[in-house]
Assembly symmetry: C2
Homo-oligomer: 711 residues x 2
């Protein structure tokens, strides 16, 4: 029976996974790596606070010298009969591969939770795709993929259940950043549910296999050609049984929570002819797109792959509707030189084997006819995957000769792999409210927005989602916060396509970045600006003025730094800007909002002492006095106060870098990039960010020649 | 034009690869690992001797702290514009994977020569299969596979040519032990050929891309979601072009040597309906089998895969005959949980894409009809793959419902994956001579046999092949030497199926191992035995006596240890046993043989001084006086001098271990093995090897209580 007291929490994907791993582990070895870091950090923090696991013990959380050491420590802990887990990504996962082959070969239950991240090739990337987990697909581990924060929480538990039952170790993975860092309102699995999901007999069986002096056995022998092969085949039954164990665990979870999952989950038209097969966060985007298009009379389908390994052809085929004629398989990785990417190859093979088997048994069904399958790459290194792109893939399947090995989301003007797409195709929920915030890394914008999401998600009936686009320079670079609120559950796993509210926390960004294209007609634009109110309009670039005009927008301004200074908070403007958002966006009644902000401040800063709380409360109160609506006058030809034309004085590659700096990197085609990741040096000069608010002046009298001021 | 002075050399696969890598490298970083060790060791030795590469320089050979360090050192050397190579296998290759992604992403030419070895899973294995190279197939490296010693030598050069031309780094791999340690007579690539094969302009282009302060560039940037994906696709043209570069390099080699290679090489009937697709040493076994069966009227084919990555569907399809109806793809690895093993998946995909393309362009050819494809695993951890097994695979393809995902070479009585095969199917060359030697690790048997192969291979017109089965205990365990000689090139990449000559260098092995089943009727059996001649026959186990009788064999005996002692050589019996072999096997006229042995001794031991040479020469001369033919009397019921019945006092797993010790591990089915590699302890007691010739006696007077004598 579903638990009756379903508790809503607002958290990100990493915390959702770490909560389960922590509850079900005795040993957690960590070596945090982006974007999985906070899973390890949470576990470390909880252990230092004495938080207990399901059995009332505090897990041993140990940071090692590298991910290689983590894998060895986990391998050892498992052999000693402990329940052990870890978290990693990217190169970190690569260092675990040697131990992973052994852990699987010895049929040892464990779960590694992976915030899947790009592997470094021509360039390093801290962002998300599936190239890391795909590099580990030969290790003999089960691989279960979650698409969103709720799934991460639920399937983390399924992974721990299924590994204990099947003895196959599990990689539980989800999209780095897009899912690991998306803050979302979900239903928590409480201790009672976890308790009912885990049968202690499974744990006892694992314990009974431990290496122990009381019952000595030998593991890790060296075998010769005479017996290795036979021994290697001795595990087959365990792999054959694994998919059913995962489905059974999902079914148990459904009984406990009401949330149903399938290892291959089909949704869409029952008589769909065109289907997309995909795993990870893109699933939700495809689903949203498909529902809109099916509403317009199309017959489309989506097959979400959750259990990628062991790949069960039987379950896959039974999930696929017989009507299917054309399939596009989307892979979030690239393996140059292969016939095709991994999921695509699996699907072609699975369909082949289904036809082969049915031919042998004399049946005559859908799989007797060869389905047309194409494969494509998308979303490498967290490249956006939007409904417009999903639609382009569905549309491609209509063609007589759809393009195989396509790319979607870029312009490939070299090998012409890319599909074009119509950016104006938008599927945002009409009942939702969307807000976009441009801040400076470490200026508090992201923290303020996370607080706002928690307020709306936990203190109202609304659902809330936050996704934060960081530059890999982290502190000091631009951050863009994408917030969605609304009465319906939010499964839009892509950046905002338009917004009711846009805030610019750093006015200098307006010179370089186009912020207002996304503003909906009649929407609100808030700018943090130190100029007197009368000069704000004139300071705006002409393009911004035109956009505000044509959209019939409302313009607000605040000198947030002045408020922060007045309240003794230095440059920390997060509370001020958060208050402005609630004051003018109208997502909550103003009084209620102010009360909730103050509660949130108390909760967040309480530990730091009353002064900090008081300063922030004061800032809340003073903000409204400093917040002004700016009348939008007739257009002025002399505008463009700060605007300067940037002239490209450099070569083609410098042009590329300038476009990247200007936030237009997404629009650059393949042809402008070096084939091997080689760039000119000395290009830092192209990036003048103007983010300093004070100009340091050298004071000869107090100089100790430390050199840090760079004079 | 082919070089006119083709020079025959007799060497093993590792030396064949190392010779080319050394000639074409400036930096060689090493961390030797079985079975690739000798490649690194040769390079180290040559460098210390001042041997020069193609350009007259002595390469820098540097041993690192691990294979991870090797990959980093190579990456660095390449970025500095050097020509750099290394050698590795198994876990060593796994540690290189992170750097390999980067080396490929930066389009950097290099060749890693891999003696492919099993990855440790339920047990460690030092032996050969493709699980290591398959674990690296996602890195974006080209992967070229050689099937025998001549190919290793030739395709090593092709790899170095093609990497420089294509900028794609190459894994050049071949079967660990079966190819890396097979000693074979091949035609060497002399300096002139290598010189003509390598265009210095390719080297200059590589140099021009180096990191250098004179022409600074930036490589190894950090990229964000905006541009990473486009940049990743910028390398596509290089991968598209790679297969043609490899084929062109093979064609250039053919012009220089007359030896022709195809990246996908078809052989067999032009109208074959049943085809095996395979790579590595098994290719030659399949080919030999196919030729015998086609000679009996079958219509079979073989498609050898040499270039596994980039996988060129175009070249693959054009190599495949249109008549094909059924294909078996053999993979020398196992990936539990996958739909199928890697090569099988590629073939299914390639055939699918060929049909897809032809459907679109409206053609109607062989690939318009779906070919029946099955995949199977063979040869894990150097498990023998014989002509009988190859025949079983061809036979399976005749069936209406051939078994997919089969295993061949074992008995799988659990999941019933295995095909049965008829061991009596033998394809040995009737013109060849085969000899089998049972020795003790480190007793000189293998060295003596390598010397014999060199004598026959280099001093006569005959071809020669030697393969040595070691136990992973190495020194002190049994070694079995499999030697083939004959007028035809020898491509039998499997153990001897029968022998004209069998020698037992350690008589105690006769009690445990069946040596004589393989002896051909009328063949010769030589035993090294310290008993007086009159007692030799009586000392033989009854089973051996019956075998010698029924085969009408000739029996010779020598007390080799007595001869060695007389000549002051202690326990080193290799020269004595080698002399016996030439004296009684008749492969060469006796006088010629003795002269060649003495020359070989001079060459081998010359550096160690005249005394050693003289002692060995004396041993050669004295051997014949101690070598006696033993008349085979009527069978005697009282025989079995040493024979004792071994009673199984232990449980089932002990039985397994006893069978392994008795050399019958190959016959054990899957069901007797633990599923996770767990064994009881204390089983060393089951192995009583009786290999000591002297019994130590404790002398109280001189004892210093060091404890090493174990009293």
């Amino acid at each position: 029976m579903p638990s009756e007291n379903a508790q809503h929490v607002t958290l990100d994907g990493n915390e959702a996974a770490a909560l389960i791993a922590y509850a079900l582990s005795e040993v957690i070895a960590i070596y945090p790596i982006t974007p999985s870091s906070t899973m390890g950090e949470w576990a470390d923090e909880w252990a230092s606070q004495g938080k207990k696991n399901l059995w009332g013990d505090v897990p041993l959380v140990q940071e090692m010298q590298s991910e290689g050491g983590v894998a060895g420590a986990i391998h050892g802990a498992l052999q000693a009969g402990s329940l052990a887990s870890t978290f990693t990504a990217s190169q970190g996962l690569l260092l675990m591969i040697p131990n992973m082959y052994k852990i699987a070969g010895e049929l040892t239950p464990t779960v590694f939770h992976i915030a899947a991240r790009t592997l470094a090739t021509h360039a390093l990337s801290i962002f998300g795709d599936h190239s890391d987990v795909m590099a580990a697909r030969g290790t003999g581990w089960a691989m279960l993929c979650s698409a969103n924060v709720q799934e991460i929480h639920d399937l983390a538990l399924v992974s721990h259940m299924a590994t204990l039952r099947s003895r196959i170790p599990f990689v539980h993975f989800f999209d780095g950043f897009r899912s690991s860092h998306e803050v979302s309102k979900i239903i928590a699995l409480d201790k009672e549910i976890i308790r009912n999901a885990i049968d202690d007999r499974w744990v006892e069986e694992h314990r009974s296999r431990r290496l122990s002096p009381e019952n000595p056995v030998l593991r890790g022998t060296a075998q010769n050609p005479d017996v290795f092969f036979q021994s290697r085949e001795a595990c087959n039954l365990y792999y054959d049984a694994c998919a059913d164990f995962v489905q059974n665990s999902m079914d148990t979870l459904a009984n406990l929570t009401g949330r149903k999952y399938q290892i291959f989950e089909y949704s869409g038209a029952k008589d769909a002819e065109r289907i997309i097969i995909v795993m990870g966060s893109a699933t939700d985007t495809v689903k949203e797109t498909m529902e809109v298009l099916n509403g317009q009379g199309e017959k489309l389908g989506l097959l979400q792959v959750r259990l990628f390994r062991p790949f069960s052809v039987k379950h896959f085929i039974s999930a696929l509707p017989e009507s299917v004629k054309a399939i596009a398989v989307l892979d979030r990785c690239k393996e140059p030189g292969s016939v095709g990417e991994p999921l695509y190859q699996d699907i072609v093979n699975a369909l082949y084997e289904a036809r082969q088997n049915e031919k042998y048994v004399g049946k005559n069904s859908h799989s007797d006819v060869e389905v047309n399958v194409i494969g494509g790459r998308y979303g490498l290194s967290s490249k956006e995957f939007s409904p417009a792109m999903a639609k382009a893939v569905f549309d491609e399947l209509k063609k007589d000769k759809p393009k195989n090995h396509f790319t979607i989301g870029i312009l490939d003007d070299v090998t012409h792999s890319s599909l074009s797409y119509d950016e104006s195709f938008i599927t945002e929920d009409p009942k939702g409210v969307r807000a976009l915030f441009y801040g400076l890394g470490a200026d508090g914008t992201v923290s303020a927005n996370k607080s706002s999401i928690k307020i709306i998600g936990e203190d109202t009936e609304n659902y809330a989602q936050g996704y934060f686009v960081y530059d890999s320079k982290k502190s000091g670079a631009m951050t863009v916060s994408h917030l969605r609120f609304g009465p319906n559950p939010i499964r839009s796993s892509y950046l905002l396509q338009n917004a009711h509210f846009i805030a610019c926390h750093q006015s200098q960004f307006l010179q370089s970045f186009d912020m207002l294209t996304m503003l909906l007609p009649g929407g609100t634009f808030l700018i943090n600006c130190s100029l007197p109110i009368g000069e704000v309009w004139k300071s705006l670039p002409q393009k911004v003025q035109i956009q505000l005009h044509s959209k019939n927008a409302k313009l607000f301004t605040i000198d947030a730094y002045a408020v922060a200074r007045e309240c003794g908070m230095g440059g920390r403007i997060n509370t001020v800007m958060q208050t402005c958002f609630f004051a003018i966006s109208g997502v909550l009644p103003s009084d209620q909002a102010l009360t909730l902000i103050k509660q949130s401040i108390k909760k967040t800063y309480g530990k730091k002492g009353d002064l900090i709380v008081k300063q922030n409360w004061e800032a809340v109160d003073k903000t409204l006095a400093h917040l002004h609506q700016v009348e939008i006058p007739a257009l002025d030809d002399n505008s463009g106060y700060f605007e300067k034309e940037r002239i490209n004085k450099f070569g083609i590659v410098d042009h590329v870098i300038q476009e990247i700096i200007a936030g237009r990197g997404d629009c650059l085609p393949v042809s402008v990039f070096p084939v091997d990741g080689t760039y000119p040096t000395g290009t830092a000069k192209l990036e003048k960010r103007n983010i300093g608010f004070e100009i340091p002046v050298w004071d000869e009298k107090i100089c100790i020649q430390c050199g840090k001021c760079v004079f």
